[in-house]
Symmetry: D2
Subunit: 331 residues, 4 copies
């Protein structure tokens, strides 16, 4: 079998390095180039001693990018400047927020910058909730954010069933790796973040419009920082127009989905650690008429690198779960 050749741009960050790690076990794809602007020329394993590859970091050269698939794993704001050029040579999966929002006003409001290429077509790559054919044939896929992935997979069955009322509330909790590897700020130091829990971005968080774009309603998103490296737990509160058997509703909605697991017990973030799985437990509370839905993912897998590979699998015609773990690392 000839493998799809892949370039990872920004391979020393958490999402980029996780892509390299996961793709080592992918039978139908291989990483042929890894880039870093700061560390070009150095072995990847030097910057990322947990990786065992022979790869050497390169400068990104937009005219000579290698392979059929390019993963962009840079900060938001980078992809908009190179995606158009890259898509003329390869198919691109962007893990930043640059191409997720259709509404440029929302982009400018929430990301505080002007978009330099707002007309480049991109498909939002959340396979369980969008047209898979669109992903399969896309030249540019916008890989979803981590909070939106956990939130939307929990929310959309209620929205689509037409039984959600009011403003859905998404109380979301994230491991610290969500801040990225280059955010060396005092608040992310171990000594400060350990044994600590707090909300952040309460006034306005960037992932809000991404959820609203698909949900079609205003939502209230509050992210929190959990003293653990990985994982997202979203707790949703949705007013219901009528009592509903939610387990049944969700099981039907996700029938046949490999990466969504509906369960009766509260899920834990660690049960999906290292996997591409989203585990969801929906509860109907008759005292208050609310649906309370718990949803967990690994923010770096289903919330980033794993979902990017899931999209790649669709694009290259591989089985959707190819190379993607379903059993978690425990304890």
């Amino acid at each position: 079998v000839s493998k799809t050749r892949v370039t990872v741009v920004g391979a020393t960050g958490y999402a980029g390095a996780e892509l390299v790690r996961l793709l080592e076990n992918h039978p139908l794809a291989e990483v042929v180039a890894v880039t870093s602007s700061r560390l070009a020329g150095r072995p990847l394993d030097e910057a990322c001693p947990w990786l065992s590859t022979g790869l050497v970091l390169q400068e990104l050269n937009l005219d000579q990018v290698e392979g059929q698939i390019v993963f962009l794993c840079q900060e938001t704001g980078f992809a908009m400047g190179c995606a158009r050029q890259l898509t003329s040579r390869a198919r691109v999966i962007d893990l930043s927020a640059d191409f997720r929002l259709k509404d440029q006003d929302a982009y400018e409001t929430f990301y505080k910058r002007v978009h330099s290429d707002p007309t480049l077509p991109a498909v939002y790559g959340l396979p369980e909730l969008v047209d898979r054919n669109a992903i399969a044939s896309a030249q540019l896929v916008a890989n979803p954010g981590c909070h939106p992935t956990a939130a939307l997979l929990a929310l959309m069955p209620l929205i689509k069933a037409g039984i959600a009322k009011g403003v859905p509330i998404v109380d979301s909790k994230s491991g610290v790796s969500g801040a990225g590897r280059s955010r060396t700020e005092v608040g992310y130091l171990f000594a400060e973040a350990d044994n600590n829990f707090k909300a952040y971005g309460v006034a306005m968080h960037r992932h809000t419009p991404e959820i609203e774009q698909m949900a079609g309603v205003h939502v209230r998103l509050t992210p929190h920082l959990v003293p653990m490296p990985r994982g997202i737990h979203a707790t949703l509160y949705v007013e219901m127009s009528e009592p509903t058997d939610l387990i049944d509703l969700y099981e039907k909605f996700y029938r046949g989905e490999r990466f969504v697991k509906i369960q009766q017990n509260e899920p834990s973030t660690k049960q999906v650690l290292g996997t591409n799985v989203c585990a969801i437990a929906p509860f109907y509370d008759p005292r208050t008429g609310l649906a309370v839905v718990c949803s967990v993912i690994d923010n770096l897998v289903k919330g980033a690198a794993g979902q990017a590979i899931q999209n790649m699998n669709l694009m290259i015609g591989a089985p959707e779960n190819c190379g993607l773990p379903e059993s978690g690392l425990w304890p």
Copy 2:
């Protein structure tokens, strides 16, 4: 100065031991007896090697309890059997749930047992929200639960102002010590709980009626387990009948309160570690019309032993903040 003499019943659990620790620095009270049914006769410091006292654990003898104040730090279900007898000899502060609820049906529904002494009068000891004179003159104080303390201090300014609508949502997150020291179950093992986050008791949590009793409305409480030993962070979502300057509202509501700190930035659980402080940051979200209120306490201090001492101070006529730290242990 002659010190008030105090007995701690159940001194080897987390709340009991924290009482002993805090009272060591109390200028107007001293622990004269500590009890444990399992370890009577052994030095307290053997069961709790972090304590430096000369105290020896005793059997609880209801007829000879020492001191003017007795703190009951046993599991819910214990106090109802001895509080009446104890209150004939001393004044009692019960840290369990036995005397918090006025509605016995709620007690039976949520605690799954019949109350054996439902008519014994008790005052709910949340000083910032109840009549301090009632606490000061009480023979039996029911010390509030940890989730309710964080939730009610955040919620009541909105309720009292008459601007709250609908069902307040309390998304509460607790450190693992909330489970107690005797819950040696697999789910509380370090290897299982570390690097993990999950909700628990979603269907129905015991602290719900305690919040509702004071709030006067139905609330939706969802507790979660955070991989840290101590701390509670409650995030509240309350529909507002009108836009409001919440900082101003909360500052006025808690003017003069020593242990409530209103702040503009998101509070962190660690900022109040080891203190009797509740730090609250209220946000009004104009996009959704919701108040989003973040509230943090140390579950073993303001959520248990510290608040118990605050109540004791009122009862013995000491300054309310006597012996109670206001600066946190960091990092």
Copy 3:
């Protein structure tokens, strides 16, 4: 390709479940049966919600054990009672200590029990340090302990070179999963073990004779408990008879080994998380004449389930690294 069929005895403990997880990605072996005495009849994924298998737990039936390979993942003391019978039907890899020690006196002294089957032949399965042909042809393999694996891989190059003097000191640090999943004792509770570090078993630890058996000298082993779920870091101090270029010595000793990585920088336990790799950094300290050697493994992979699979690979003629990750889960 027909896959080797495998039974995992004691599949709900940490080592057993890790075997199931790792074998899911093994191209030449498959788990056909999992046993649990306590939970027979229940789905494996119910006891281990992080696993995604369709396997149902069975009672162990020694007369009908399935497959060519049986992994015994029970507490020490179990295997001695059934290994002889099992080896008449299958090849057995025992992850307990029952067959590691040749000296029965040492077994009785350190494990406080009499061995019921001391004459059953077993091969000590540490592939990098023993005759691989012996493992390949063994009917019973004694899989090494976690502390001994990290210690011996670091120590033996010095011993074999004949430059070690005196009593080697092994200061070893282990994540809490080393205690196992069934040790629900107060000291292993999250609230007690988090934010905490301590030595244990200083007077005498069971893994001491296992190291001494191979090293041929007395060693001093002191294990410590680290507030993390997984990982072992052994720091060795060995008096040297002469100054030596240790990097060169170790690289030559382990030339061609896939799972031993010699490095100049201090290794971290997380760099090998989830992998079968032992990373070693040897330092020569000219001020004191000591070799200081740092050695890290994942206690549940190279220290248990991964090394067991490495042994299985040798036994079934598969490539030694088949199905065993070399890149770690980070962060």
Copy 4:
């Protein structure tokens, strides 16, 4: 009682802020000024939201320093430039390494800088091991390092008894706060340091000569980073010239000492969290002839701010334990 007035220079770092916190409960001293070069003019509680003081940060003015005692809590290299001038106006306790070493060659070798004021007299402030009168009358006290405090308290009873042979080994493990609050490097990020354990500075660590200066022999010090905010655990290995009852030896050596606790069980770092106590468990291993001594402190209290206050108490004639906690924060 008129309180001793105190200035804390560098109050926003971990040691400085811990001084402020501890001194709030000191009956005989009060902080009257806090300085920060970067944040002068801002409230201390803004930089340190866990503190509840009304103090405002100032620029350090060497000509107008307030109070009788000045604590210098800056990086090593700062104190040498101002201590002479400060000691003409106040008594100074320096928490850096600038005045700990008598041997300037060692200072230059280990700290990689030339000392600008090597002749200024200073007393090494480890009260249990030096002449307390010298501390009491000193104008400049060099507060010991954290690793040396844990190591020396464990080592000196053996040295003084004349039963130690060879090179004592100090395998020391530190919580991450030891790196300080301003070391915002990738390796100290929560996501990197959590669930991780590693050695650092193995080739040569700065605290080595500080231990050797008092011990009078070469020692081998290897520090490690533990995924916890606070605490040091030193494990010492010392060859013994003869079998010795170490518990008896240590108890006699430290008889009457308030802050040294000799115990038979392995101590844990958490048992001394927030206290000024050093807990030591000495073991004699007859198999190897080694003393194995475990020693724990809170690196920010007995290893920094607490010991500084202990020295201040001696200097101002207060009881040595005044304002210093002996019971730990648990869990």
